[in-house]
């Protein structure tokens, strides 16, 4: 498989990030007959020779099951027909974007962070490894496995932390991590149910151990929404 180097990062699809870090989007230049899979609604602009096909991933039944669990069911595949073509991809959330090249390894990704990947990367949204940990927080995680490009984004900025040993992250800020890392949830301040546990505002944290990359976000959407709602007009019931 042909690959090209952009900066120090290996990639299969020729791409350029525009608008980083606050309003990142991707400009891809697909080679003739090259295909990329993209989350729904993210296509912003493209050459006319790029053809789009919508696929229900993992078959219809698995798709419906996933839809019921509020995970994205469809994926769009874009192929440059006959000659090369440009494709602009703009995720729904304003924020940062990152790229990793997978070389027969696995990254675990917050479900809503997925933007696009090479066809050699398999997205498994049936992955339930973290379900118990993030229950009630509206999170789901997916596994991206294989060889090729993976693009992901978040609201806010993205920071890459090289973990070697143990590291603590507030659950709500996890974007992605190498599957080489072990993880477990903890209550901050240990299990001692004291003032710190309840009043620290940090709630439940995730402890990562081992060696691998961890990506975190600098802002969360939920507090912003919560703040905006305080301005919502109220029905006058009095």
């Amino acid at each position: 498989m042909e690959t090209n180097m952009t900066e120090s990062q290996q990639s299969e699809i020729k791409y350029e990030m525009i608008g980083k870090p606050d309003y990142a989007m991707i400009k891809m230049t697909l080679k003739a007959n090259q295909t990329v899979q993209v989350e729904p609604s993210a296509m912003a602009a493209m050459d006319t020779n790029i053809q789009m096909k919508t696929k229900a991933k993992g078959g219809l039944f698995a798709g419906v099951k996933r839809m019921l669990s509020s995970e994205s069911f469809f994926m769009n595949e874009f192929t440059a027909q006959n000659s090369s073509g440009e494709l602009y991809i703009s995720p729904a959330l304003p924020g940062d974007m990152d790229h990793v090249y997978l070389n027969n390894n696995t990254i675990i990704l917050q479900g809503s962070a997925f933007v696009a990947s090479s066809m050699g990367v398999t997205i498994n949204s049936q992955f339930q490894g973290l379900k118990g940990l993030f229950n009630g927080e509206g999170f789901f995680f997916i596994q991206a496995t294989g060889t090729g490009d993976l693009f992901f984004n978040t609201y806010g900025g993205i920071l890459e932390i090289p973990v070697d040993g143990d590291y603590i992250v507030d659950n709500g800020y996890i974007v992605a991590f190498d599957s080489t890392l072990q993880y477990e949830t903890q209550v901050i301040g240990g299990l001692k149910l004291g003032l710190t546990t309840f009043m620290s505002g940090e709630g439940i944290v995730c402890k990562f151990s081992g060696k691998g990359r961890l990506w975190i976000q600098t802002r969360q959407l939920a507090p912003y929404i919560g703040w905006a709602w305080t301005f919502a007009p109220r029905k006058n019931n009095s």
Partner: protein
């Protein structure tokens, strides 16, 4: 202690590298990530003069942060990422003396600084507003956040700032709050509510945007609840 600001200006975070023995106090909920052996202790800070644990809890559930966390690294030092919930910038500076910070803008400070969340300097003038102020005294580094961008005004004589745009100021300044236009008509219809007039010599830090004005402009697009 080394404080590095990343992702400025829209989504700024502070990466704090600490040696063993150094401590930092932060607003509850500001921690994003940290070294595993960082110890965290939460303490209650009386706000607005009226203390009491139950009142503290009441405020906590009213959505106001009232508790602060004290972080201290393990024997080999450690790192800590602190953020804020609002969109905007962070600023760090070393203070030596007294520094007044708008409650919502306080992110963190070194443990060598005394934090007084019950500062009453503006009380009578701001009554009815939910704003509270934090008085920091001592020597050390301080981190504050702004809604939007942050800019510094060097006051040398007199300067007027809309109260919704004040992030922090040096206590060497005298200040008084008044209506912007001198009459209630311009205060209400002119969109300029209360302004703070600073006198003397010192620095005022302002934010480019007023959080409440942004919120009110969103209001018509939010469904009635």
């Amino acid at each position: 202690m080394n404080i590095e600001l990343l992702h400025r200006p829209a989504n700024a975070v502070a990466k704090i590298t600490m040696s063993s023995g150094e401590k930092i106090i932060s607003e509850a909920g500001a921690m994003i990530a940290m070294s595993e052996d960082m110890s965290v202790v939460t303490s209650k800070y009386a706000k607005g003069g009226s203390g009491g644990f139950l009142k503290g809890i009441k405020r906590l559930f009213a959505g106001e942060n009232f508790f602060m966390n004290r972080f201290s690294p393990g024997p080999n030092g450690g790192e800590l990422y602190l953020g804020t919930s609002s969109m905007g910038d962070l600023m760090t500076r070393k203070i030596d003396g007294e520094f007044i910070v708008q409650g919502g803008s306080f992110v963190a400070c070194e443990d060598t600084i005394d934090v007084d969340a019950s500062w009453q300097g503006f009380k009578s003038l701001f009554s009815g507003e939910s704003t509270f102020w934090v008085k920091l005294s001592g020597t050390g580094q301080v981190i504050v956040n702004s809604f939007g961008a942050i800019y510094e005004v060097d006051v040398n004589d007199t300067y007027t700032v809309d109260t919704g745009h004040i992030v922090a100021f040096e206590e060497t300044l005298d200040f008084s709050v008044r209506k912007a236009g001198g009459s209630w008509i311009s205060a209400i219809f002119g969109g300029e509510g209360l302004v703070c007039e600073f006198n003397g010599k010192g620095k005022v830090y302002c934010q480019s945007h007023n959080q409440n004005n942004f919120g009110y402009s969103l209001a018509p697009m939010l469904k009635e609840v």
